[in-house]
Symmetry: C2
Subunit: 189 residues, 2 copies
């Protein structure tokens, strides 16, 4: 009961959201689920996925139990306190404005050749788009997705789908934008 005071970051809420969906999960489960959903708009490095649940458990937001044999994996689940914190956060209407970290633009600012940068960027968005389109299909019932593997309900799939749909739309737009700048850019304005 005497939980350590910890700071809840967006990454904390990312982990808790997943646990709300999954019910109970090992860090590895979280990692896989993340890669197919949240990862597209909130990056979490894999080491953080292993340390963050430990932190959250110390704060009393997650319960932690360890397997006795084999890999001795840890299983995490939301506590009431965790569920409460998650809802309070999600229901607050204000959010931090989105933040973009774009090394390519930095290089252009530093004098790199825009054409090279934009060409790489175009290819990347194209690949990302293809990846997300595949993910979207697999979320809709095919095998191979985590949704299938974990036997998600229709509702759970929708939650993931909504964000992936936004992702495909986003990359489609960016692809065009980058392409137009690559071709010389809206030079005048």
């Amino acid at each position: 009961m005497k939980s350590k005071q910890i700071r809840l970051t967006s990454t904390s809420y990312a982990v808790m959201s997943l646990l709300e969906l999954l019910g109970e999960a090992t860090p590895y489960d979280l990692k896989r689920a993340l890669e197919q959903s949240i990862e597209n708009f909130w990056h979490v490095p894999h080491t953080t996925i292993y340390t963050e649940p430990t932190r959250l458990a110390a704060g009393g937001f997650l319960s932690e139990q360890q397997e006795s044999g084999g890999r001795r994996r840890k299983l995490y689940a939301l506590t009431d306190s965790g569920r409460e914190a998650l809802r309070a956060w999600a229901d607050a209407p204000e959010s931090e404005p989105p933040e973009l970290r774009d090394e390519g633009m930095l290089k252009i600012f530093a004098g790199a050749d825009p054409h090279t940068i934009f060409t790489n960027r175009r290819d990347w968005h194209q690949a990302k788009l293809t990846e997300l389109e595949g993910l979207l299909e697999s979320l809709r019932g095919a095998e191979g997705s985590i949704a299938h593997e974990l036997d998600w309900t229709a509702e759970q799939r929708q939650s993931a789908e909504a964000t992936v749909r936004f992702g495909t739309a986003y990359h489609r737009l960016l692809l065009e934008l980058v392409e137009s700048f690559r071709a010389g850019g809206p030079a005048g304005s």
Copy 2:
């Protein structure tokens, strides 16, 4: 000459790019210049702007000299080693893929009302767009911009302009995207 071994991050290059433009600057100069350019695609909190140059100086990439009177401000400039590192980085064609950190999408994933989130988001992009359009104009010669204050050459202005132009195009597109999702979204696909 015996410089400490430090790791150069994107933030390091952001600082060094600015110093290449400014020639010589105090952390505060850097801060102001950042806000009108790099900040839009690479966030650097203000405390980092004060600590990063110190790190870079320890690594031998910047020279540091301190005023004797008044605020005892520190003046930084690129060393040859810094200029070299900057060029090597900018000239390497590959960049890290852009990373988006979007708390609003996280909330939607966690079950928040999309309409609320997208409405806030729309307003934010609108404000950002207006801000960047103003910045673009002021970069083109008006008073009040850092370009004017520091008496930038046409070339220096262009460097800043290129990224700001991309920024305006970006926010214009996002504004539309968000608006369409707000209105119910491309529901089917």
